[in-house]
């Protein structure tokens, strides 16, 4: 509250109501619900948010600038560290852009292995969203369940590429390693196990009255607003707009698989949560189909030892775990990019936050921020 508390200043005004003052409150940078080092300066009056200003950049490492001094293969480990919950997808987004520029032919087996790891990664990322979102809203146990399940995906990745978080598995022209013996069977067993677990999550969370009360009708925006702010991914689909790059602009071999693009109806926090659950199921369907079709053969195409991208400008975007993840490369024909720009879905999805928070209750801040599903490594890059 602040201010003087002398005898001349009364805390009770003429109508016998407690006098309130506007107050600036820092949420973060060290706050468990900001999922990283993200600071939100909110102006509140009592419990109501009048204004909110996100402050970002605490995790800025200058990836785009660093990339200008790195060869194309050397950039791949840096992309791991953008959205560190979906490193495989980042790897792919970058490799895909370079491959498009070089017009490379990717071996079939490599394409299938990429699809399998990318969709598993999407499941892992969405699982973590559900766990941390529920944790933000005060539910502890889903967090423990998802970590147990996510651990299995992480172990599978550890076996195929030797790392648990920063995989550096994809290469321009293919993948680093073929799957170890028995790995594909393990994935198949996991897919079956996970499909059962998803219905368990549905039972555990979706119907919970406290959860519904905290998310239904909260943080609503419509398709036009979302498009005007450049939103993509689940944030856009929750408004009922069917836009998924895997379907609308197929890359890799996504046109060979049968899967749905679930969309929401109300564009509220509950829809965004529920779409994560539905999308995991679709991802598992893709993995199951890919496991049926995966052929034998090489896993790395014919790639020159020193990759030189022909002079020009190249962009390609993929459907990341959080939206359209794109890499824009300007090349002057050397072995290093002249300039690299990353289209970071988390960063763009965050732009609507101040508008969403205005007029909301303070307790809803965490619910709304959590549902946008940002990863600060990507926002700050």
């Amino acid at each position: 509250m602040g201010g003087k508390r002398g005898n001349d200043v009364s805390l009770i005004d003429e109508q016998n109501q407690i006098r309130t003052e506007e107050m600036l409150l820092n949420v973060g940078p060290q706050h468990p619900s900001t999922h990283g080092v993200f600071r939100l300066v909110v102006k509140i009056s009592g419990e109501t948010i009048l204004d909110a200003e996100p402050v970002i950049g605490y995790l800025h490492r200058g990836t785009e600038k660093l990339a200008e001094d790195l060869q194309y293969t050397q950039i791949i480990p840096y992309t791991d560290r953008l959205d560190y919950l979906a490193a495989m997808l980042n790897n792919y987004a970058f490799c895909h852009t370079v491959e498009q520029a070089l017009e490379l032919e990717i071996p079939e087996r490599a394409e299938y292995l990429r699809i399998i790891v990318m969709e598993l990664q999407r499941v892992a990322s969405h699982l973590l969203f559900i766990g941390t979102y529920l944790l933000d809203l005060g539910a502890m146990s889903p967090f423990l369940y998802v970590f147990a399940d996510r651990e299995q995906i992480v172990q599978l990745f550890n076996e195929i590429c030797g790392a648990r978080l920063t995989y550096n598995y994809l290469r321009v022209g293919g993948v680093k390693w073929d799957a170890p013996p028995g790995w594909l069977d393990k994935v198949e067993a996991f897919v079956r196990y996970m499909q059962e677990r998803l219905s368990m999550y549905d039972e555990l969370i979706t119907g919970n009255e406290i959860f519904l009360a905290r998310t239904r009708g909260i943080g609503v925006f419509d398709t036009d607003t979302a498009l005007a702010h450049g939103m993509s991914g689940i944030n856009l689909r929750s408004t009922g707009f069917r836009w998924d790059l895997r379907r609308n602009k197929p890359y890799s071999i996504y046109d060979r698989f049968d899967f749905e693009i679930p969309v929401g109806q109300n564009g509220d926090c509950f829809d965004r949560y529920y779409l994560h659950l539905l999308e995991m199921n679709e991802s598992l369907k893709i993995v199951a189909q890919a496991l049926q079709q995966v052929p034998d053969g090489p896993v790395l195409g014919k790639v020159p030892k020193l990759i030189r991208v022909p002079a020009g400008e190249y962009y390609s975007g993929i459907e990341g775990a959080r939206g359209e993840l794109g890499f824009y490369i300007v090349s002057d024909g050397k072995d290093k990019p002249y300039r690299m720009k990353i289209r970071k879905p988390s960063f763009l999805n965050l732009q609507l936050l101040p508008k969403l928070l205005r007029g909301q209750n303070m307790a809803n801040l965490i619910a709304i921020l959590g549902a946008v599903d940002i990863v600060l490594g990507e926002v700050d890059a």
Binding site: P77, N158, P180, N208, E209, L212
Partner: protein, 146 residues
Amino acid sequence: MIGFLKGMRVTLRQLPKKKVTLQYPDVKPEWPERFRGVHRFIPELCIACNQCARICPTSCISLAGERDENKKMKITTFDINFDICILCDLCTEVCPTEAILMSDTFEMARYSRDDLYLDMHWLYENEQRYEEAHPERVAEKAGRAE
């Protein structure tokens, strides 16, 4: 209320299930063969070609070599600055003689930054530790080389 009770049922079903946590550090995790821990280095194999130092994205490897009496390149110093190493595995990927490899050493907490400057001897000791811990992997590799 129904949704809440449904969730409670899931929680109760979980009760008799096995624990998934590991009692680290009493029980150590088992890492797969491809696991990328701290490097190990075999000095006899190194031909000081400098490829690992060139591919390293963070430039954490520094090495020097000299020619021996048979005009063959021999390594004299090989240091990895583990302060900035990101364990990307690109150095082992380019090494033509497999002199530098990844081990499953993963506990890297040190009291001083200086201790993170790993030299050739430390890395070779790490190789010996690895061979002791996984004799079957090393034997398999020797078999494949022949």
